[in-house]
């Protein structure tokens, strides 16, 4: 006997990214194939403008928390700001690194002026669950505020956790997503010393080039992506606009190396297969994948080959996009922002381009969109899109969305 479970839908979208201050401008820039990458010229960790987050509140919030709050407000408004039982509203918002800027600022103060001059808000600014806490306060969410951390898979994992909260009956609505603000010398140096970052510094717009033969590493981005997840019954009762069905999630762990992906891609394949099974979606329904593809020489082909293994012959009809070519890599924000993009691709029936794809790597056996491409239904079942996110530590997450 199978007990039917609650269907989870996406009713709100929010994003603040290198391409735009909200989801609509980010999506428009993606479809236009614009790059959000440029040389760093500004002072480190510049505050957001006071009119976005109040000046006093900004003193108490790390930059990553500010991004998350701004995107959450947008997503909440997009969902129609539901009036609901606060005991049934949950939060699943996380970050791959957390408030690293606040850690560094606090340590500078410690060295220069002593412990007593450290901001008393330093701890809530550095903890990776700070964004979840702030968002729960902003919207009065009492069902639980959670922050799973899995490096660059964190944002996607948060959406998966949000789906579980609704399916298990703990919440009717969950504000879910990921955020990151890690463009700082320590992080750049630490990734650079791993030889993980692109060194194409003379042409910043062309540096992030997933699946291209000449890719040489990723480019850091920052921002946040937030979605409002909701049980279909709750969304129907209040007449909400449904952007997509958050149909399922799949997870695996490579258990191979702390930073390198397993070369056989078995973990990635398993995560995708488990996501499809969880979503009760056949590979033939999948029309589009927003790939994790960070533009590293090692990772991109492994993901592409794993997609073929997981989807089998159905991989032939799938259009793959790597929007990191335009946003750079938002680490813990990536999976959330790319889920926003995947949902919008499904809604608008168009796959965004992968810019800088001049010559596809021969080890990439999938159809990568270099230009925006229309998405058309395959067969009779609703069309499905995937979003992949993988993190150092060997974390693999795959999410499935289906047409509303």
């Amino acid at each position: 006997m199978t007990v039917d479970r609650e269907t989870v839908v996406v009713t709100g979208l929010g994003a603040t990214t290198p391409l735009g201050g909200d989801a609509a401008s980010t999506w428009a820039a993606m479809l236009a194939g614009r790059s959000g990458v440029r040389r760093l010229t500004e002072p480190w960790a510049k505050e957001l403008p006071a009119e976005v987050v109040g000046r006093v509140q900004a003193r108490r919030m790390d930059r990553c928390e500010q991004f998350a709050l701004v995107a959450a407000r947008e997503a909440w408004a997009d969902a129609g700001a539901p009036e609901m039982d606060p005991e049934r509203l949950g939060v699943a918002v996380t970050s791959g690194i957390g408030g690293i800027g606040s850690i560094l600022a606090g340590y500078d103060t410690l060295k220069e002026k002593g412990w007593s001059r450290i901001s008393p808000f330093t701890v809530p600014m550095l903890m990776p669950n700070g964004s979840a806490g702030w968002i729960s306060m902003e919207f009065g969410a009492h069902a639980g505020a959670h922050s799973l951390v899995s490096a660059c898979a964190s944002g996607a994992e948060a959406l998966g956790y949000g789906i579980d909260m609704i399916r298990s009956g703990r919440a009717d609505v969950v504000i879910a997503g990921g955020t990151e603000a890690a463009i700082m010398p320590l992080n750049i140096g630490a990734f650079a010393v791993m030889r993980a970052m692109s060194t194409r510094n003379d042409e910043p717009e062309r540096a992030s080039r997933p699946f291209d033969k000449a890719r040489d590493g990723f480019v850091l981005g920052e921002g946040a992506g937030i979605v409002v997840l909701e049980s279909l019954s709750h969304a129907r009762r209040r007449g909400a606009v449904v952007h997509a069905v958050a149909a399922g999630a799949g997870y695996s762990s490579d258990a191979y190396h702390i930073a390198h992906p397993a070369p056989d891609g078995a973990g990635v394949t398993a995560a995708i297969s488990r996501a499809l099974a969880d979503a009760r979606v056949d590979p033939e329904q999948v029309v589009h994948v927003n790939a994790h593809a960070t533009s590293t020489p090692e990772g991109d082909p492994i993901e592409a080959q794993a997609l073929v293994k997981a989807l089998g012959s159905a991989a032939d009809g799938v259009i793959v996009s790597a929007t990191k070519s335009m946003t750079g890599h938002l680490l813990g924000g990536a999976g959330a922002i790319e889920s926003v993009a995947a949902v919008l691709a499904l809604r608008d029936r168009v796959a965004p381009p992968t810019i800088n794809l001049e010559e596809i790597d021969e080890d990439v056996p999938v159809d990568v969109a270099a230009e925006p491409r229309p998405l058309t239904k395959r067969g009779t079942e609703p069309m499905a899109v995937l979003n992949n996110a993988f993190g150092f530590g060997g974390h693999n997450v795959s999410l499935v969305f289906t047409a509303a």
Binding site: V56, S119, P120
Partner: protein, 83 residues
Amino acid sequence: MTEQEILAGLGEIIEEIAGVPADEVTPNKSFVDDLDIDSLSMVEIAVAAQDKFGVEIPDDQLKDLTTVQDVVNFVSKNAEGSA
């Protein structure tokens, strides 16, 4: 330093740290009940007051300073060079 000067200086500090307009920082106001200032912000205010007035406010005394006038009195009594 007159009480009026201390009050004005305290108003500036509180406006900067807690966002309460300086002219609302009047002697009878309670930090917690009237000005909505939490204990973490009070720590910031105490450190800023130390810099501005040259008066250290020890933790065991800070917890007893519940109104604006309490702080004015404390600074007035302990400030170097105060009359």
